[in-house]
Amino acid sequence: MAEAVKCRDDVFLHAEKITKIYPGTKALDEVSFDLLKGKVNVLIGENGAGKSTLMKMIAGIEQPSSGEMYIGDREVHFKDTTEARNNGIGIIHQDLSLFPNMNVYQNIYMNKEKTGGKVILNDKQHIEGAKNILERLEHPMDVNTRVGALRVGQQQMIEIARNLVDDDLKVLIMDEPTSSLSEQEVKILFKIMRELTSKGLSIVYISHRLEEIMEIGDHVTILRDGKYVADADVKDISVPWIVERMTGGEKNYPRRNRTVDWDKAETVMEVRDLCLPKPGGGYLVNHVSFELKKGEVLGIYGLLGAGRSEIFECIMGLRPEHTGEIILNGQNIEVKNISKQIDNGFALIPEDRQAMGLVQTLDIEKNTSLSALKKYVKGIFVDSKKEGEMVDREIKDIHIKVADKKLPILSLSGGNQQKVVIGKGILTEPKILLMDEPSRGIDIGAKTEVFEIINKYAEEGLSIIVISSELEEIVAIADRVMVLSNGIKTGEFKGEEVQKDTLVLASYQGHHNEDKEN
């Protein structure tokens, strides 16, 4: 039996039933994976499907909870990146892992230093080598430049160059290497990838750009929710085939059934030409316009980094550098700061409950009343009685299960903590509620309750914008869905048009327009 799990001839590394458990979640569930020799192996899946996690195991950044890996007929364990590298495996990280305070050649040769007599660095050799490798990448530059001063695309090239200085490199894992490259740079990268594979090097390629995968990939493996779904040669498949397997056909929340003629409904807010520049060039939010009706639930769908949360940050006044108009009830408002925006009738339920939603050292009552505290002031003091009454009412309204509102906030379950954050927003009596991933990290029961809260307040006339990465969720909850991709609005769907497949397709489209902007 043991023979069966060892590598086939055309496989460089075989991962067998890899499971990775993080506290509370199973990021990978018995995933087996063959890394084909001399090929571009593509990994694809939604956010949180486990692509990056699987690669971290292979690159030695993290260790599997269970499962084995084989190179040839030898079982391998990588306890750190050095061991993986000794086996010829290098990785280009999703988030750049460079040293902004150091120059180009220092970055390229970090921990691979060439020395004279093992003591003094041979900078001449470093400079020479760095120049050569950058020329090969068709990116000649002054190797004495500090990396922090470079464009993100150039930094990405340096990240690639760092891996190529190893002569014994056998596998190069690239986790979304093109996310910040221009079209020209992508072309060069693909050329280099072809060069490398023709020399027998294996590449693992993670990307969100489906068209790119069809162009460069040899073999595709699809993951969903930490599980293996399918794998196939690229020549045998098509984009719709991939999308179908990425989304899967399973569980659906009951769809909302509202018969409102939205064309006749009053427009509460209109956003025109919203732009948020990215430090280092380009846009995080790229000329986005949309409107919001009274009592409507507008969903915003998109991949990580598509600019979803940034839209909320602009609206709430956290990003003073944004441009564009925000028109509230027909009035063009100037977005100054968050406190002013709360007064204007906006409330934000932030994405990260622990870091941005709650003050862990305060009790449940104080957390609930925090944003609306202004309303309960008598002279210079807080009117505790009024505060208590309002909090009690809110707790009842949205069914927060608490024994005593004076208990610490962390004594509540995740779902109830989330309800406190929502309650805090609603207590400010907003006209527009912005919810960023309101159901993240809470169990299915609490999720349903959060949906009920959203429905209840929407029926009462509150306009709500919901950001979600979960397709089922957004399809179920939203009256209308706007899709963002790479900061660009790539689609808007309402009623029956809101389908999982259409949303996913739209969420990959923004990457091809960006170069026109640059």
Binding site: I61, D80, S97, F99, M102, M110, N111, V119, R146, A149
Partner: protein, 349 residues
Amino acid sequence: MEKKSSSNNKLIMTLLNGRTFIVLVILMIYFSFAANNFMTVSSLLSVAKHVALYGILAIGMTYVIITGGIDLSVGSVAGLAGMLAGGFIQEGFTIKAAGVTVYFSVPMVVFITILLGALMGALNGIIITKFNVAPFIATLGTMYIWRGFANIRSNGATYSSIAGYEGLGNTGFEFFGTSIAGTPIPCGVVILVVIAVCAGVVLKKTPFGWHVLAIGGNERAAVLSGIKADKVKIWVYAFSGFCSAVVGIIATSQLMSGSPKTGESWEMNAIAASVLGGTSMAGGIGNIGGTIVGAFVIGVINDGMTMCGVTEFYQKVIRGIVIILAVIIDQVQRNLQAKRALQARNENK
């Protein structure tokens, strides 16, 4: 028009880069007029003697700050090192079990003291890396501990007869506090130069130096590159302890008495010198040359003001203002640099 503004920019950058040095020159000129005996060989040598102490501490501190840490214990380690060295010479080292007292020769005393200093530093590093304690807290703790031991060693008393005894073969400790034979140059200054050159070369020219800078720039990336960040940091704190012990020996030798109070609040001078020299408290940026200039600025301000008759109270106010101004200018420079980088980027397109 474009050209002019960019060459103006360049001039400003050059001035900003050399700002600490310019400040030093201005201070020297000012004090040479304000205090008429400032520009004499003897008072300059006395300034240099003080600078050697801050300077050596600041070199170790610069390494620590570059890794993104801080070492508040340097003054206490210097104090304890002085007490250990003084004690070894005056009282010897008593092994209770054997009932004998050993008197080490001066080189041996110095060696043991410095080794212990380095170990004290390494302990900081171990607490910080292995037990995940913030550097500020870890070294605040050891600052109190070593100061306590410095007092415990002599029960608060001062070792005043550390010239050694001919018969015991442990004379010669005054060497470190006096001038090199035949020259007016204080020994401390020579030690400062030697340590500064070594530390500068290691930082710029060896893999270890790269790793120190890398950890300060992006520790996670350093670890992912296979750098053993914990080990590097322990060595860096050990080096800071080493520097502190050296300073303890020089200071004790200069006064020819070991006081448990030696080095109190010197950590602040070391941090100030480091920051004045362009070391970024956020880590990743710093160089030894700048730190030495920074140490001279601190030393010249302190001694110059004393010679002008400015009281200790006002000295503190002025020192504080200088440090804050230095950091503000640092921020201005960084913003300018970022702007220039952006400009260059746009021009390249």
